[in-house]
Symmetry: C2
Subunit: 498 residues, 2 copies
């Protein structure tokens, strides 16, 4: 068995190396590549993907997994070895279900649709995007048909980002959240424009220095991390000891500080995976929602807290004296936590963000069920948006066309953003109960206790367990919206009261 | 046949994509990677190399090449298609001769020896490096044994860098060069220290700006090129439209300007390969010597010429007023062209550089022939060095241990540096005869004529022909040291006379 396991591990290491090479090549494309390199880089990424996929779905991998089954079952469930065989078998069975031709067609359609979408968004021209959206949905239906045994076709889509999560479960959680969120936002939200000091100026070099100073306190270490510029910030990694964060700066926008914290959360998760899982398919965060719980925790729960700013606000003022020199901390704190209904998901505040997600989740189900015709999607979007946010959508650029996801067939991804918010507070509550003096540390710019707890209890696990098992181990139960609702009520309540 | 050729091309494109991914990952490692990423990156590079190699030496590739032979022979010899089949067959037959185990052993030995060598050099401790050098030579002998039909075992090593080049031919060329060079250097060389203004200060940002300004005139275009920092400068590429140059800066050293020109020469070659060869194994410069001819041409023949500095010297003075404000152009010109025997190859001047190479070439042959015992190598080095340079070697750090090449088994590489020098002047003479007003352009900072000629006559060919065929097409004859000797005599003669 040892020999077969070694053979499996060797094959998986090769595939993992190819996947990581893709990740580095993608990072390079977004951050470093001269513009002319685009077409060849696209071909390289496609080739690496095809080779890695072919090596993974190989019959021999399946045979090894089958032969290893008794051995795996004889091992401790929590062992690295049993987890590797178990998780790989699930991945393999799933990957085998999708014919290579369909996978290639989906990749091709996504590449074609991307540019059309970008132009359509710019020109608020939904009609030009419609045929590509129709094709994306058609392909996604064929994708769903590759699977069986699901309760809801949407389960299949969700499973790509949140393995094992059921549509019914998400619906229950979101319904509960929505029931509280809509009245709460109506109560505490304001449509007034942002305070003028939030327009800066915020010199870009000072933003970079300040961002680094903050995330270095979180655990960013130049021995293992980089922070670079890009258009749409993301985090990538070549291994647990090579983490690439990206951000962007605007002279009249201090968002970059929160972007850095957000991407650092993703990076700390990848950096914290146990060394013993390096170069295996377990060497990643376990799911989109769990990953997002970490970016949101460091960005919102930590980075928009009073304790955090009690330490950092004087430094922020010193970094941006022109914009913030005369602005007292409480005013700044309220500005960065203001609830303000707006059209664009990525610019929205911590609370309304979830309504943007719920809207998309509901529409995605209706699209897949065929209960909304794609030609009527803008109308469905606009009607529902006004119902949830209380403001009308002026055009499709800031409505149904705003996000890139659907152009690439990324149905099922959106919900994980809000699931991440929900989970982040479940984890936070657990951390707080185990580390009662956590906030005292924050007041002194110390975040090591939090980082260490998360590393031990979550990050180090990688993909050894399912997302559900992982959450169970970290917080002692399944996903639950109540702590998040309570957290929002408390935070926004103190803002409204003050 | 069309189908079989398409199948071959498809396989070669995949392999090429893997090779390019390796190149980007290597560039990333040297330029961008956080230090902690080293071990995993090493594993990734090894995996990509192994996968690419295995796909290439596959029987099926050989079968396709064999089946395509009649078709290939029916095509125009110069066509892309015939050249692809022909060149690939040569590559394949060579790659098949080396057992995977030996190749892996060589890679492993090189990795192990590298750190030992670095430490040995630092401590001038040849004894600690000796066992690794012995192993490297032993492996290289086994490598030579994989081949047959050579005139000299050293031919096999040379062939890895300069396909088709014979030891006897190099020896003849070098003997001719040495016969002229030793007395010439004795005549015009000087051991006096460098002029003080060459110590700067040269503020680093100004060096970067000036380097960019120069190479932008050569053909560097940010749409297709990058210039970054590294420890040991090199050029890499992800494709013809994605060229990565690297350089380094020292506050008391203006060498960076020449490094940028040197690497730009390599980059222009790769950038100029015909678009029709993209994603094929022909999409590279044809050999080390031809490549080096281009880096040397742009660095030395162009970048150390009077015409070049007639245009750029006022700008250089303006960039570095403190160091150069009072230094007249002729004094600067003489300083950058001074012949000064010194220990270290990479720091040496245009003329003595070749003696460093000839010394290594001669020792490499004796090592492979076994006529010098490895334990006696330092003595052999030192004796010969004093004979050629007229100065004694004080310790092995600046003698036999100075270069990394042998630790990695890179025997056969050194000669290509000087062959590049020789070829660069053969090409230069041809360009001059075809473009009589070339230097007038240089005087105005115009290098487009030269770039265009080289692109049309050399760069665009890629690896379609052998190095010998390529040189024949570019200059109308085989390698010949005479033009280079004449060039050096003329250039150094004017310096001595002035």
């Amino acid at each position: 068995m040892d020999e077969r396991f070694a053979e499996l591990k060797h094959r998986l290491a090769d595939i993992h190396d190819l996947r990581r090479a893709q990740e580095v090549l993608f990072w390079d494309q977004m951050v470093m590549m001269p513009p002319g390199g685009g077409p060849v880089r696209g071909a390289q990424l496609t080739t690496l993907d095809r080779i890695a996929h072919a090596r993974f779905v190989d019959d021999e991998v399946g045979r090894l997994l089958e032969e290893l089954r008794p051995w795996e079952e004889s091992l401790d469930y929590d062992s690295d070895e049993a987890s590797l065989v178990r998780t790989t078998r699930r991945d393999w069975e799933k990957a085998r279900r999708v014919p290579a031709e369909l996978a290639a067609e989906m990749v091709g359609a996504a590449a074609e649709a991307h540019d059309v979408w970008a132009k359509a968004r710019q020109e608020s021209d939904y009609a030009s995007f419609l045929p590509h959206l129709e094709r994306a949905v058609e392909l996604k239906r064929r994708y769903v048909d590759c699977f069986e045994g699901y309760d809801d076709p949407y389960d299949v889509l969700l499973d790509d980002y949140e393995p094992g999560m059921k549509t019914a479960e998400v619906r229950a959680v979101f319904d509960e959240l929505k029931a509280d969120l809509v009245p709460l936002i109506a109560e505490v939200g304001s449509l007034e424009p942002e305070e003028e000091f939030m327009q800066g100026p915020f010199p870009i070099d000072a933003q970079h220095q300040f961002s680094l100073r903050v995330i270095e306190r979180f655990g960013y270490d130049p021995q293992f991390f980089r922070l670079d510029l890009t258009v749409h910030p993301f985090a990538a990694s070549s291994g647990t000891e090579d983490i690439r964060l990206t951000t962007r700066y605007g002279e009249h926008d201090i968002t970059s500080v929160f972007t850095a914290m957000h991407e650092c959360g993703h990076g700390l998760y990848e950096h914290g995976v146990a060394q013993s899982l390096e170069r295996t398919p377990l060497c990643h965060g376990v799911s989109s929602a769990l990953h997002e719980s970490q970016s949101r925790m460091w960005e919102n729960i930590v980075g928009r807290s009073r304790a955090f700013w009690n330490h950092f606000y004087p430094q922020l003022q010193a970094a941006f004296p022109q914009a913030l020199g005369d602005v007292e901390q409480e005013r700044f704190y309220r500005a960065i936590n203001r609830v303000r209904p707006s059209y664009i998901r990525v610019d929205s505040d911590e609370a309304t963000y979830n309504l943007h997600i719920i809207l998309r989740f509901e529409l995605e189900q209706e699209i897949m069920a065929g209960t909304v015709a794609l030609k009527d999607l803008p109308e469905a979007w606009n009607t529902r948006f006004e119902e949830y946010f209380g403001i009308p959508i002026p055009n499709d650029s800031v409505g149904v066309l705003q996000d890139v996801h659907w152009s690439g067939g990324g149905f099922g991804y959106f919900p994980t953003y809000s699931l991440g918010n929900i989970v982040s507070v479940q984890i936070w509550d657990r951390v707080r109960s185990e580390l009662p003096d956590l906030l005292d540390g924050f007041e002194h710019g110390e975040f090591g206790q939090l980082h260490e707890w998360l590393r031990t209890n979550l990050y180090s696990l990688g993909r050894k367990f399912t997302p559900q098992e992982t959450l169970e181990r970290v917080v002692g139960g399944p996903i639950d919206a109540k702590p998040y609702i309570r957290y929002l009520r408390e935070k926004l309540g103190t803002l409204a009261a003050a």
